[in-house]
């Protein structure tokens, strides 16, 4: 197995303390790796360290064998790592087409951009359908798809996706996961962070549980899904760990992993 991304004993944080405390994690090429963990575990921080929004204070981040820990977000982007962040990230008053074209901001040739745009529009028809609408006028799910489309402009070697299903209704959420699964089937390497652990792990080749800035468990997606201690995390049986209430789906009875401890019941 070839690791395309290697994070080695990384420490990182904002201001005073460290959020990542000696994180070691490999992401294998061509696989979908899903990172789960409680709120504040540092999942988004891991992605920020990879995409260069945050620089590790200690430790190594290597992509295709090359150290990227000190590179700017732009330089990392040019290496082929693209991040779809947790918050809505489209430029709301620009059109869908403009947004997607901006995904190719670092491409120097206009013709190349247009060609990529054509390919991306074929892959994501919504971009063509809503090309002239402002991004802000789209629904949450549509915006997520356009964000994926924008990320595809650079044909990334590694796609980082942070909680794409957040705030979406179940049907739309399905669409987002289906899209991720298709991207994976196309052979893309994806590092996914997901609060809806079940949905995320179901489509993942590799599952990783992050807790307080360290990897606590790693295995196949199915194994992690079946691990009783993962259930414990999401059941909130260990007092300090809680899932976010507003993201918890309506209880479905058998949906152990996703039900929030202090949710709608």
């Amino acid at each position: 197995m070839t690791a395309i991304l290697e994070i080695d004993n990384a420490f990182a944080g904002y201001g005073g303390g460290n959020i990542l405390r000696g994180l070691t994690l490999n992401v294998e090429a061509g696989k979908l790796t899903c990172l789960v963990g409680p709120n504040g575990a540092g999942k988004s921080t891991v992605l920020k360290v990879v995409s260069g929004l945050l620089h590790p204070r200690k430790g190594e981040v290597r992509f295709q064998g090359q150290s990227i820990g000190k590179m700017s977000p732009r330089a990392i982007l040019m290496q082929g790592i693209v991040q779809v962040p947790q918050d809505r990230s489209l430029f709301s008053t620009m059109t869908v087409r403009e947004n997607v074209l901006l995904g190719g901001f670092t491409l120097s040739h206009h013709a190349e951009k247009e060609q990529r745009l054509e390919e991306v529009m074929t892959r994501f028809p919504i971009v063509r359908e809503r090309a002239k609408d402002t991004a802000g006028s789209l629904s949450g799910g549509q915006q997520k798809l356009v964000e994926f489309a924008r990320a595809m402009m650079l044909d990334p070697k590694l796609l980082l996706v942070d909680e794409p299903s957040m705030g979406l209704e179940p049907r739309v959420r399905r669409l987002v996961f289906d899209t991720l699964q298709e991207l994976r089937a196309e052979g893309r390497t994806i590092l996914l962070v997901e609060q809806n652990a079940r949905s995320g792990l179901e489509i993942a080749d590799v599952g990783v549980v992050l807790e307080r800035g360290q990897v606590r468990l790693k295995g196949s997606g199915a194994d992690i899904l079946a691990d009783p201690s993962v259930g414990a995390i999401y059941m909130g049986t260990s007092g300090r760990l809680k899932t976010r209430v507003q993201d918890a789906p309506a209880p479905t009875g058998n949906d152990v992993i996703e039900s929030a401890p202090d949710g709608a019941s």
Partner: protein
Amino acid sequence: MNGGLLLGASVLGLLLGGIYGLMASGLALTFGVMRVINVGHSALVIAGAYMSYELFAHLHIDPFVSLVITMPVMFLIGMGLEMAFLQHLREDREQFSVLVTWAIALGVEGVLGYFCGTDLVQISTNYANSSFSIGGVQIVYIYLYGFLLGALLMGLLALLLRRTTFGWSLRATVLNRQAAQLIGIDVAKVSAIAFGIAAAMAAAGGALYGMLNTFNPGSWYDLIGDLLIIIVLGGFSSVRGAFIASLVVIMFQEILSVIISPTWADWSFFMLLAIVLIVRPSGFFGVKTREA
């Protein structure tokens, strides 16, 4: 009420508004790009006024002509200030920025005081008071030229923002700084250049301010409140909003000063502010996307 007086006040307000728009748009630009409320912006206006004044007093260069010197110089000074003092304030920018930019303003005031003294001065060109009459309204040339200059520079800025790659990066940075970073935009560079552009606009505004008013290094205090209110009304980060808000506010003020009294006119800013904040908190042109 005299209709001619009212018309005169409206025209004067409109022209003066265009000049204020020049100063306020730079403030809106830096706020949009960096989320920095640059309370030192008016000190840059006064610095620009002094540059024009010194070039006029010593080298007899017309203040409209010397803009080709003062604007580039202020552009570089603005960029330098941003890189030296603001670039490092990554986290919690908004809170600290007021302190830092306040300190910058005091620094600028100090430097101006040291080199130029604290006496009130004015850029008095020989055409300072010439005017012409049209439809019974007396128009002072400087106001008209100032307005035209404001409109021209705003037009150029709009072109820059709409038509150039830099403009795209700047607008993307305004809309979502992190997303801009993630598509490969160097937001630090964009911020420095935006600050430079704002300072250059301040220089142009300063030249006009210095022709219309007497000023000294402390005059930035008088100006900043008005500019801040204008950008609140304009929706904070909208350059176009800031320009149009300037026209509206200054016209309103001039009209009030003839129909009621100049004292009331000073209050008019605050009245407008209160009304707008109650009726439409995002300003005339506020984009309502930041509530999420």
